[in-house]
Symmetry: C2
Subunit: 334 residues, 2 copies
């Protein structure tokens, strides 16, 4: 299909035609062939005016925390209220091991067959940067097709949370309600990305869930992420990450969750943070791809390629200062 035909199918196709066009478009965008890439760029640029209206929601948590159950419950809840939901995954494990921690769409049995839902598993090859780029582009396809809620799901592996937080409006971290000292450690750097922390399976041990909530709230405050409500400088025009409890399996708390998301969207739209975040993400995405492209050209340069291993060895052996090594290699590149 030509980019023009794909565009037409995505924007104006009936349910079945649109779904097929979306799948084909995303596959085209995942391709690394130069001619596909050129067609993909043409398609993306044409799709762009029809994107940006969806709420982009990132959801992360360790395996077993109940992400799939929760996303299915949330997705069905939203569809009931007239929304169209897309679920994309970023799973770096699938490209490293060939197997995927998150598995495929069959995990969400009811949501995956729903006409108003679109579920796409993680691209199965490429570096995290490449996978993230493909997911960002897939998100634009879903938005152009009229999905007004896009959920990007990831598992706590590598730097995938940072990637997901960098492409969504709101980043949700799911936790289990183990008590006190048993509270599972949160991966380095992830807590600070969270706009909302959800303690799932709160029904299993309500007391533990309450303690977990208090402990996480206290840590958020220490990390400067959660305002102290007793202080006058607690600014209600700014969003402070919240901690809530729910039980996805019992379907309890999904409405409270969505109320928080709605409040987040209102606060961050009112204070201008949401459009600012998207502009910052667009700029960062462009520079991330430029940096990756520059580094690729650098590594591929014949003289650099010949010298890089040896220079790196000298640096690691303490025979060459790193700054001098960098200047020598850059001189070869010039």
């Amino acid at each position: 299909m030509t980019p023009q035909a794909l565009l037409e199918g995505i924007l104006r196709g009936g349910a079945a035609v649109q779904r097929r066009a979306m799948a084909k478009a995303i596959t085209l965008l995942e391709s690394t062939r130069a001619d596909h890439r050129a067609q993909g760029d043409e398609l993306l640029t044409a799709l762009l005016p029809h994107t940006g209206k969806a709420l982009r929601l990132g959801i992360s948590g360790v395996p077993g925390v109940g992400k799939s159950t929760f996303i299915e419950a949330l997705g069905l809840y939203l569809i009931d209220r007239g929304h169209r939901v897309a679920v994309l995954t970023i799973d770096p494990s699938s490209s490293v091991s060939g197997g995927s921690i998150l598995g495929d769409k069959t995990r969400m049995e009811r949501l995956s067959v729903h006409e108003r839902a679109y579920i796409r598993p993680s691209p199965s090859s490429g570096t995290l940067g490449g996978v993230a780029e493909k997911t960002r582009e897939a998100m634009l396809v879903c938005e152009a097709a009229g999905h007004d809620i896009v959920i990007v799901e990831t598992v706590g592996v590598g730097q995938s949370e940072t990637a997901v937080s960098g492409m969504t409006d709101m980043f949700v971290l799911m936790q289990l309600p183990n008590a006190g000292d048993d509270l599972q450690a949160i991966k380095k750097g992830v807590m600070e990305l969270a706009d909302l922390v959800v303690i799932n399976k709160a029904d299993l041990d309500p007391d533990a869930a309450t303690r977990a909530r208090a402990q996480i709230t206290s840590s958020l405050r220490l990390l400067g992420l959660h305002g102290n409500p007793e202080h006058a400088h607690h600014d209600t025009a700014l969003w402070h990450p919240q901690v809530i409890q729910l039980s996805a399996l019992q379907g309890r708390g999904v409405d409270a969750f969505w109320a928080e998301v709605t409040r987040f969207r209102e606060v961050q739209t009112g204070n201008g943070q949401l459009p600012a975040r998207r502009q910052q993400q667009a700029r960062a995405w462009m520079w991330e791809r430029i940096d990756a492209g520059l580094k690729q050209r650098f590594r591929a340069h014949p003289q650099v390629r010949q010298q890089l291993d040896d220079t790196t060895r000298q640096v690691l052996a303490g025979e060459l200062p790193p700054s001098t090594a960098a200047r020598q290699l850059l001189d070869l590149f010039d």
Copy 2:
């Protein structure tokens, strides 16, 4: 002075000659003139075999936490025990505002005049990357001159903590002992860098200091940085960030602090983490300078320069996908 004369002065000069050679060498390394840079590279490479034996200690904390008082007390304590101490600062505020939050060496009156101490204020111009590079190089000069403890001090501005943590063996975060909810928030991302958290001015309110210690320890555990001693998987061969109290002004706790530093060095040397950290830092430093150099060349390319603002505007306006924009600009660069 030629690089050869500077080298001679640094390695074998008497006290006054050596001090003058160190100052001239660091000034040479701070210069951006191409001929100075070439001489600087020659000097650095010659110094390198004489470096790496010092303990590199990073210390950070907000203004008013008592860094200078503590570093002076620690420096004099170490000199008493036969060490030679160098203190370098990274203060991004000095290059932005022209004034410096950390001030200059006169803050440490007794240490700065001591023959066995060498204190050098922050380079007063350049980006954080440039300032960090100059400080890294100054550190090598101090080590070659025989200073076996190098302290890099920074104030909590911008990304300077990350820079300091990235060039030292151990990163210490200083905190004030305010109680509970009043505990001053720690800047995003900084807690995770800390190998040791020091609660200074513990004498002002011992109860508050004790509560602060408990709260920070609990947060470190939640963030996965501090092992749970009740669990069998608490690995004593790995370092877990500790929290200690002291009073720098009263000179109390400096010996306990040094005992923790010594234990850190032993644990991290025993398990191979210290040499691994240094190799990782050397590699990261080289690539950081390569990345900066590539980006500089990219921005300076005539066609990129002509197009960059317009392309960025299109991306921010949502008219051009960031990935497409990156490819277009990279094509101009080729």
